[in-house]
C-alpha cells in the first residue's frame, strides 16, 4: 500500500518535474536557438552570469524574471474573473493530459510491479481528447473577456479552427485504435515491440493526418491564424501580460510535449528501441542481477521514450520554422474538405484490410 503511494508520488513528481521544470522553460530557448541555426543566425547568447553565457541557456531565466516583475495588467472593461481564469483553464488541461501517456512498460522489481504511467486509464486516448478540447474554453474566454477586438477575433478563429480540426484528429486516431484493438495507451505501447508493427508503418496516412491536426490544435504555424501576429497582433492573448502571458506560452509548449508523447506512443513504438526486444535488453544487462537488470531496462526504456519525444519536438519546431501560414479560408478548406474525408477513407480502408 505504502509502496504504491510512493510509486504514484514518484511518478507524478518525475513527470511534473520533467515537463514543468525542464521542457517548458528550455523549449523557449530551443525555439529561439533552433530557428537561429536553421536560418544561419547565431541566436540568443547575450544573457550571462559572471561572464558565463551557457550558449544562451540563461535567456529563459532572464525572460521569466522580467515577466514575473512586470505589471499584471487587466484592461479597462475586461471581465476580471474570466480574464484571470482563462490562462489557468488553458494551462491545466495541457498539464493533465500527459498523465495517461506511458513513459515505460511494466517492470517487476523486488516483488513490486511498477507500471510507468501516472493513470493507467482504459480510455486513455479519449481522456487526452477530452482534455485537449477543454483548453478551447481557456482560449475563448481569454479572447472574449479581454474587451479587445483583436482578442475577440483571435478567439473566434481559435474556436472555429479547433472545433473543425478536432473532428479530423479524432477520426485519424480511430484507424490506430482499430489496428491495435485497444484504447489503453499502455496496451498500444506494449504491442509495438516489433519494429514493423509500429503505428507509422501500419497507419502512415493516420500519422500524417494526426500531425497536421495536432499542429492545428496547438495553434502553431502553419495553422497559427488564432494568434497570427501580422494580422491580429497576438490573437486571443493580446491583452495578457506578466505571469498570465507565461502561462499561455507554457500551455503551448506543454501541448507540444503532449502531442510528441501521443505520437511516440501511437506511431513511433512508444518506449521500444527498434530491433531490440526487452528480452535482449534483459540478457544484455544480466550482469547486474535480476532486479538490477530490470532497473537498467526500465531506465533505458525511459531514456528511449524521452529521446523520441525530443525528436518529435525537434520535428514540430522544424515544421514551425519552415512553412508559411495558411490563409483562414485555405485552412478551413483543408480541414473540412481534405483532412476529414481522408481520415474517413483511412478508417474505411483500415476496416476493409482488417476484415479480409
Amino acid at each position: 500500500m505504502i509502496a504504491d503511494l510512493i510509486e504514484a508520488v514518484a511518478k507524478i513528481l518525475f513527470i511534473f518535474g520533467v515537463n514543468m521544470g525542464f521542457f517548458a522553460p528550455v523549449l523557449g530557448w530551443v525555439e529561439r536557438k533552433q530557428s537561429a541555426v536553421m536560418q544561419d543566425r547565431v541566436g540568443a547568447n547575450r544573457a550571462d552570469i559572471f561572464g558565463f553565457t551557457l550558449i544562451g541557456l540563461l535567456h529563459p531565466v532572464a525572460d521569466t524574471i522580467k515577466l514575473l516583475t512586470k505589471e499584471d495588467f487587466i484592461p479597462a472593461g475586461a471581465n476580471k474573473l474570466f480574464h484571470t481564469l482563462a490562462p489557468f483553464i488553458t494551462l491545466t488541461p495541457a498539464l493533465i493530459a500527459f498523465s495517461v501517456i506511458p513513459f515505460g512498460g511494466q517492470y517487476e522489481i523486488y516483488g513490486h510491479t511498477i507500471n510507468l504511467v501516472i493513470a493507467d486509464l482504459d480510455v486513455g486516448i479519449l481522456f487526452i481528447f477530452a482534455f485537449a478540447s477543454l483548453s478551447i474554453y481557456g482560449v475563448v474566454l481569454g479572447g472574449w473577456s479581454s474587451n479587445n477586438n483583436w482578442s475577440f477575433l483571435g478567439a473566434m478563429r481559435a474556436s472555429a479552427q479547433m472545433l473543425s480540426y478536432e473532428v479530423a484528429m479524432g477520426l485519424a486516431i480511430i484507424g490506430v485504435i482499430m489496428v491495435y484493438g485497444s484504447l489503453r495507451l499502455t496496451d498500444i505501447g506494449a504491442m509495438q515491440e516489433n519494429f514493423f508493427k509500429w503505428g507509422i508503418f501500419l497507419q502512415p496516412i493516420g500519422f500524417i493526418l494526426f500531425i497536421a491536426c495536432a499542429t492545428a490544435e496547438n495553434k502553431r504555424i502553419p495553422f497559427d491564424i488564432p494568434e497570427a501576429e501580422t494580422e491580429i497582433v497576438a490573437g486571443y492573448f493580446t491583452e495578457y501580460s506578466s505571469m498570465k502571458f507565461i502561462m499561455f506560452w507554457m500551455a503551448e509548449f506543454l501541448e507540444m510535449i503532449t502531442i510528441a508523447g501521443i505520437i511516440t506512443t501511437l506511431f513511433l513504438g512508444a518506449w521500444h528501441i527498434p530491433f531490440i526486444s526487452s528480452k535482449m535488453l534483459l540478457s544484455l544487462f544480466s550482469f547486474a542481477g535480476a532486479n538490477g537488470a530490470t532497473i537498467l531496462v526500465m531506465l533505458t526504456n525511459i531514456a528511449t521514450f524521452f529521446t523520441k519525444i525530443i525528436f518529435m519536438i525537434w520535428f514540430q519546431m522544424t515544421i514551425r520554422w519552415t512553412l508559411p501560414r495558411f490563409r483562414y479560408d485555405q485552412m478551413m478548406k483543408l480541414g473540412w474538405k481534405i483532412l476529414l474525408p481522408l481520415s474517413l477513407i483511412n478508417i474505411f480502408i483500415t476496416g476493409l484490410v482488417l476484415l479480409l
Binding site: 533552433q34 541555426v37 536553421m38 536560418q39 544561419d40 543566425r41 547565431v42 500524417i208 522544424t318 515544421i319 520554422w321 519552415t322 512553412l323
Partner: protein
C-alpha cells in the same frame, strides 16, 4: 606654334578618363562582372500543379532544405572550420567589427598638418555644397598671409554623410573618416562639433587621402 586642336584635347581627356576608369574595378557579383550577368528566368504561372497541391512532397522538400541548413550549421557550431569560431556570418558586434571598405563614409574630419595647423584655407566650398547646411566657417588670416578657419563648426545632428564636402575640397582638408561609433548624444548641443574636435592628424588619414586622390582627382580635375 604647336597648340593642341580641339579634337586632340578631347582625346587627351578621354585617355585620362579611361585610365581613371581602369583603376576602378567593374562591380562583381561573385566572379562575374555585373554587365555580363544575365537575369534568371522567372516562372510566371502562379497556378499550382497537382504535385504541388498534394502539399506533402513540397512540405518535405522545404523541410529537407531547412534540415540541411540545421545539420550543417550544427556541425559548424560543434566543430568550427579551421580557426573560425563558426561557419555563420553573423558578427558579434561590440567584440568583433566589420572590416570597412575603402569607400566607407564615416564622420567627416578636418586634416591636421604635422605642425598642428589645419590644411583648410576657409574657401567655403564645403559650406556652399553641403546639402544639409551643417558646416559653418569663419575665415581668418595668419601673419604669413595664409588663410585659415578661425571658426569651423560641423553640426553632426544635421550631417547626412553624403561626402560632397570631401569631393569638393581643393585642399584635401576635409575627409570622411571610418569612424562610426560614439556619434549619438543625449544633448543636441554636444553634437555641434567645433574645430578642435574635428581635427585629426594626417598620418591617421593617409589611407583615405590616397583613396580620395585615386577616386576624385583624376575624374574631376
Amino acid at each position: 606654334m604647336n597648340t593642341l586642336g580641339i579634337n586632340e584635347k578631347k582625346t587627351e581627356i578621354n585617355r585620362n578618363l579611361q585610365s581613371s576608369v581602369s583603376i576602378l574595378q567593374p562591380y562583381m557579383i561573385g566572379s562575374i562582372p555585373i554587365d555580363k550577368l544575365k537575369p534568371k528566368k522567372v516562372r510566371k504561372n502562379t497556378e499550382l500543379t497537382l504535385w504541388e497541391r498534394l502539399y506533402i512532397p513540397e512540405i518535405v522538400r522545404g523541410m529537407v532544405v531547412t534540415t540541411r541548413h540545421f545539420i550543417f550549421n550544427m556541425i559548424g557550431f560543434v566543430f568550427p572550420p579551421n580557426g573560425k569560431k563558426r561557419s555563420i556570418f553573423t558578427v558579434y558586434y561590440p567584440e568583433e567589427k566589420l572590416t570597412l571598405p575603402d569607400a566607407y563614409r564615416g564622420r567627416p574630419v578636418l586634416v591636421m598638418r604635422e605642425d598642428g595647423t589645419e590644411r583648410c584655407v576657409a574657401c567655403g566650398l564645403c559650406e556652399k555644397i553641403c546639402p544639409a547646411l551643417c558646416i559653418s566657417i569663419l575665415g581668418g588670416e595668419r601673419e604669413n598671409k595664409e588663410r585659415y578657419p578661425t571658426y569651423y563648426t560641423l553640426d553632426m545632428s544635421l550631417c547626412v554623410f553624403c561626402g560632397f564636402c570631401e569631393e569638393v575640397c581643393p585642399k584635401e582638408a576635409i575627409l570622411m573618416s571610418d569612424e562610426y561609433e560614439g556619434l549619438a548624444e543625449y544633448d543636441r548641443k554636444n553634437m555641434l562639433y567645433p574645430k578642435e574636435k574635428l581635427l585629426v592628424s594626417e598620418k591617421k588619414l593617409q589611407k583615405r587621402i590616397d583613396y580620395v586622390r585615386k577616386i576624385y582627382s583624376k575624374c574631376n580635375y
